[in-house]
Amino acid sequence: MANKNITPEQKEYQQHVKDRMPRSKTFSQCVRAFISGGIICCIGQLVRNMGETLLMLNEKDTAAFTAIVMVFLGASLTGFGVYDKIGAWSGAGSIVPITGFANSIVSPAMEFKREGFITGTAAKMFTIAGPVLVYGVGSSVLAGLIYALLKP
């Protein structure tokens, strides 16, 4: 592991770098993330309302419908090469919503097409989203177990 026996020279340099590094503009990035994330969620809400009122779906189907449409939008915008431009401005605002999840799967799928559909696209598709799936599903299993044990 790095820095197990950190020398004074190393420590001094690392502190110097930390002090002098150009800082990210955290406040403006937070504002942008808030605005862009909020807009994406509003679009999601719109889709949900359409599902409920126009398509007369029940609770469960509405949720599925919303997720399907938002994932479709995220995937398409990635395919058109637009999502990364949105991401450059939005930062976390476009990564966190489900559209960001779609982007994280579609972008490596596109990128690794050159190595073929099996060893490229299919194998590399989950390089970014993998941890989300593993720990997301894992924690929901855990939550479900706890609920099952504790419910009255």
Binding site: Q14, V17, M21, G91, P108, I128
Partner: protein, 347 residues
């Protein structure tokens, strides 16, 4: 310096070429963004799009490597049988760009991996081959490509995400220097540029772990090599018109100057970093260019010409490399750096 020479070595890390090779030709193939930068007119070929008509970026990069060598050879009227050795590398796993280009070029080949220090490493070894009479004509080459580097080291290109302020952009560029020994009588585009000495770098690591802050990771290696070179040769910064670094970028350069000051070396405005020169501020590339193609492009497209014309008399060209891999980063290792340097001067 002349009265301190003992054979071919000086001090701990420096080699003196008493029978120096001369750089006789050079060529640069650059990508579209680089072509729109301040040095765009210095490059032999500027690509319209970064695949250069190939199926993949990797194939484009090897084509760039190959064509950089061929263009440099053509400019001096050289044929394959005139070339004794091709030295070079790139940033990809197993240096496939260099290997596959060498397959097409069919020259005796020494593949090198020095990360972004490859251009200086190849000139250093090329200079040794020429001075020692082991070759009469060598081609020293390095190439990198933004998209191939992103694929290997970072995230897919279509992924939405922001870069940090210290991040640099890998240059899409391939540069080749052709150097010849004293017995060379053929055509040349440079008559005044000689490789007179070189300093072999040592791996230096001050514990920077952030792969988005390469400049700060490599700056200690550059400071170490410069200090070694000056101490070995007994020279000072004033003996050089420029101390050139490969791709420290804006923040890395600042760290480099600070580290040199700590070692008692004042660069007195004689420092130039290729990563800072290849892109303009308007092109918004955070901290500047990086990649072995960065130093290769700036040296072969711009600096050699300035030495030839007499604008620069002597420079110390030091390319810096970050010797990490995606695996080492994931294992929480820090980023070791290395810097090799060569002295290029008029005689």
């Amino acid at each position: 310096m002349d009265n301190l020479m003992h054979g071919k070595r000086m001090g701990r890390q420096t080699l003196i070429f008493s029978n120096p090779g001369a750089v006789i030709s050079s060529a640069v193939i650059a990508g579209p963004l680089e072509g729109r930068g301040p040095l765009g007119s210095c490059f032999d070929i500027v690509l319209e799009e970064d695949t250069w008509g190939e199926d993949s970026w990797e194939k484009a990069e090897r084509k760039m490597f190959e064509q950089a060598v061929r263009t440099a050879m053509d400019k001096a009227g050289l044929k394959a049988q005139d070339m004794d050795c091709l030295l070079g590398g790139d940033l990809l796993n197993q240096i496939i760009s260099a290997n596959f280009a060498a397959r097409e070029l069919k020259l005796p080949f020494l593949g090198l991996y020095g990360a972004c220090s490859t251009m200086a490493e190849s000139l250093l070894i090329g200079g040794m081959l020429l001075d020692g009479g082991y070759a009469q004509c060598v081609a020293c080459t390095a190439a990198s490509h933004f998209s191939t580097a992103e694929r290997q080291y970072r995230n897919p290109l279509e992924m939405g995400g922001q870069t940090t302020p210290t991040a640099q952009r890998t240059v899409t560029g391939a540069g080749c220097s052709i150097a010849a020994g004293s017995g060379y009588n053929g055509d040349r585009i440079y008559g005044n540029v000689f490789i007179t000495a070189g300093t072999i770098g040592r791996v230096t690591d001050l514990g920077i772990t952030d792969a988005n802050n390469m400049g700060a990771a490599m700056a200690p290696a550059a400071a170490d090599t410069l200090a070694a070179h000056l101490s070995d040769t007994g020279r000072g910064v004033m003996d050089y018109d420029l101390i050139v670094t490969g791709d420290l970028g804006r923040f890395g350069s600042e760290m480099f100057l600070d580290l040199c000051r700590d070692k008692g070396i004042d660069l007195q405005g004689r420092h130039m970093d290729c990563g800072n020169e290849i892109f303009s501020q308007e092109q918004k590339v955070d901290c500047g260019g990086s990649g072995c193609g960065c130093s290769a492009s700036v040296l072969n497209g711009y600096l050699l010409e300035r030495i030839e014309k007499g604008e620069l008399r002597r420079i110390f060209f030091m390319a810096t490399g970050a010797l990490l891999s995606p695996t080492s980063s994931m294992q929480s290792e820090s980023i070791p750096g290395i810097a090799h340097g060569v002295v290029l001067e008029r005689k």
